[in-house]
């Protein structure tokens, strides 16, 4: 086989045992080191972008589509007209780009999102991502006197921080909560419950009205872990989330988690969940919800976009925080989980790393962010970028919820550090719990067991955060 690469650097002892012909086009072999293209930094070009170097951008073609990215690219070209931008939109980021990483020739900007994203923990652990510090400390493109970092919402940078470095820029701002139809509430004269007791009382009322109070994404039950953890954090304070993220022993079986799990068990026990939910996938269950078969569903603010096709015109979608357990809660009722999502990365081996960062700076300009919100109906991490933009009802309620939440907002990041823990282990535990096969204690024990497994598994790189 003549396709054998000559420049393969990694030749291992054991590899020599296998005939070169067989190793032709070898999976593990990489390419050579790429040389970076860099230009002269100045006030107008603080990151030192080479003004005629090509830039390659790969976008996840999911709920947000790809049009917003094309708009960002046009803005980039206004400042660097000589740069040619290659734009690709794909649905399976991981499988598409994995070989390019091995090869040492990744694109300059990647929107690493979707079900097929590249495990962010793995990318960081293998030192594949550039540190975004210089971008964050560069001046904002269109907000004079401020650095990029200073224009962002609080907590936005933390979701992409691993140890002491920022490797991921989560661009969209996602609000997680309990979703309902305001119209339905108005018609029936219900008010959104602020306390757990009110919530249960309302569930009773809803059930009596012949509607199911809850449904959930049965085949992806991890969606229900969000309200449980939120309830626990509001009861016990942000330390609850910190312990979970840091894989502290007993983090999942802590007192606040117990209180929260006990509380949520009630909607299972009392039959407040739409019959058959555990056998529905996310689209099936959310469609039932849109059709008014169930009142509440747990999701993030992408829900409005996802349900566009099946949402009745007068549905008036709204999000609410999880109800407070009681007077002892450390966080107020209005506190809601808001977090930056939709990860963008610049690979460490990107040829035009500086151009990649400049592209992110363009996205983080007020103009870029407003355009994004307008195009895809999602908030961004750029503070104030939703102001003056016409928002659909669900998103409007997100903005209001965030405002009410103020600096009491909270978040957790273990799914970013250890994708498997949420996607497989906590997911399975939630499935058992919300279908009523196990009680709250077993549920938490099962989550804890998953966390302990990850903690004990040396093949996962561990991260700690302190705030």
């Amino acid at each position: 086989m003549s396709a054998h690469e000559v420049s393969r650097r990694t030749v291992l002892g054991a590899a020599a045992a296998i005939a070169p012909a067989v190793m032709a086009g070898c999976a593990v072999g990489g390419g050579g080191n790429t040389e970076k293209v860099e230009g002269q930094a100045d006030a107008k070009n603080p990151l030192g972008v080479k003004d005629d170097a090509p830039l390659e951008v790969v976008i996840f073609n999911g709920g947000f589509g790809e049009d917003y990215a094309k708009a960002h690219q046009a803005m980039f070209k206004e400042n660097f007209p000589k740069v040619t931008i290659t734009h690709t939109a794909v649905t399976e980021i991981g499988k598409t780009l994995q070989p390019r990483f091995i090869d040492g020739t990744p694109p300059d900007v990647i929107n690493n999102s979707g079900a097929g994203q590249i495990d962010p923990g793995s990318l960081v652990a293998q030192a594949q991502l550039a540190d975004l510090k210089d971008l964050l400390d560069a001046p904002s493109l269109d907000q004079p006197g401020k650095t990029v970092r200073q224009t962002l919402l609080p907590g936005a940078v933390e979701t992409g921080t691993f140890g002491d470095k920022v490797h991921i820029l989560n661009y969209a701002y996602t609000v997680y909560g309990i979703w309902y139809s305001k119209k339905l509430f108005n018609d029936k004269g219900w008010t959104y419950p602020k306390t757990w007791d009110e919530h249960i009382a309302l569930c009773k009322q809803i059930k009596a009205a012949g509607i199911a109070p809850w449904t959930y994404q049965g085949l992806h039950p991890r969606y229900m872990s969000w309200p449980v953890i939120s309830t626990a954090i509001k009861f016990g304070g942000p330390q609850v989330a910190l312990n979970i993220d840091n894989l502290e022993p007993g983090a999942w079986t802590s007192e606040p988690m117990k209180m929260a799990a006990d509380a949520w068990h009630q909607i299972v026990k009392d039959g407040y969940i739409l019959e058959g939910s555990s056998g529905l996938d996310h689209k099936q269950s959310q469609t039932e919800w849109s059709k008014g078969k169930a009142v509440f569903v747990s999701s993030g603010s992408w829900l409005e976009n996802e349900q566009k096709a099946v949402t009745p015109a007068d549905f008036d979608m709204a999000v609410g925080p999880t109800p407070s357990l009681g007077a002892g809660d450390k966080l107020p009722f209005a506190a809601i989980r808001g977090t930056a999502g939709e990860p963008f990365i610049v690979p460490a081996k990107a040829k035009n790393e500086r151009g990649g960062k400049e592209y992110l700076r363009t996205m983080l300009s007020m103009k870029g962010a407003k355009d994004f919100t307008q195009k895809v109906s999602s908030l961004t991490i750029v503070a104030g970028s939703a102001e003056g933009v016409q928002l659909p009802p669900g998103l409007k309620s997100c903005v209001e919820a965030l405002k009410a939440s103020g600096d009491k907002g909270f978040n957790w990041v273990y799914p970013v550090y250890y994708r498997k823990l949420e996607r497989n282990l906590v997911d399975a535990a939630c499935g058992e719990f919300f279908s009523g096969r196990i009680g709250p204690q077993e549920f938490l024990a099962k989550c804890q067991k998953g966390a302990d497994e990850i903690a004990a598994d040396t093949t996962f790189k561990k991260y700690k955060r302190s705030a």
Partner: protein
Amino acid sequence: MRLLKNPFPQAFLVVWGLMTALPLLWVFISSFKDDNEILSDPWGLPGALRWENFGRAWTHGHIGQYFLNSLIVLSVSLTLTMLLGSTTAYALARYKFPGNRLIYFMFVGGMMFPVFLALVPLFAVVRNVGLLNTLPGLMMVYTAYSLPFTVFFLSAFFRTLPTAVAEAAMIDGCGPFSLFFRVMLPMAKPGLISVGIFNLLGQWNQYLLPVVLVSDKEENYVLAQGLAALAVNEGYRGDYSRLFAGLTLAIIPVLIVYAVFQRQVQSGLTAGQLK
């Protein structure tokens, strides 16, 4: 009539027949419904014949594109499989040369490997020749992975062909190449049809290979993969009628081809079974 005395066998056949046919019929019928009808009354009939569901599946769901891709890939890969498979099988079956057995077992051994094992390196191997996310890449890989069975089956077939005919042709001055194409290949027609149908169905229904090798470019998805993406992917927005219409579009043509060629398909597949 004995039949009336013991209705059990007939009843059993009817039950299994219904169990097989009903799901398919249900999909066809559901594809005319709107989302509300699908969700509220699974056994109800559509209120109207909504042909536009198919239009949506064909264009917005890209079923048309996927369909075409499958056809393009198969037209090449099947031809290649049959050509390379028959020449290799012929050479191995009718010629003695050093290494014959080795090569034969190398091909036949391929039948025993789970494709899964090769998945990760295959990805790199395809990328290294620049064929990742391309239809030609799929053609090459389909062909390569169809060779073990094709070679195995056809070499058994060539071995059974009478040598007398070949010798007579040689005496008539027929060269080895024209002997193969003019004499041996026509004689092997029944075997070629059997293995051809076997490969046709196998390649048409392939899911794993395209999912891994053409994950990037949606416009290069093949039918089975595209349909699964339509149903499973999180990017999917609830549009049930489109999904059912898409399923119908994926099922009907295969069923028609099957109904027309059912005798050949059945004999081809069962012959394929007896490896």
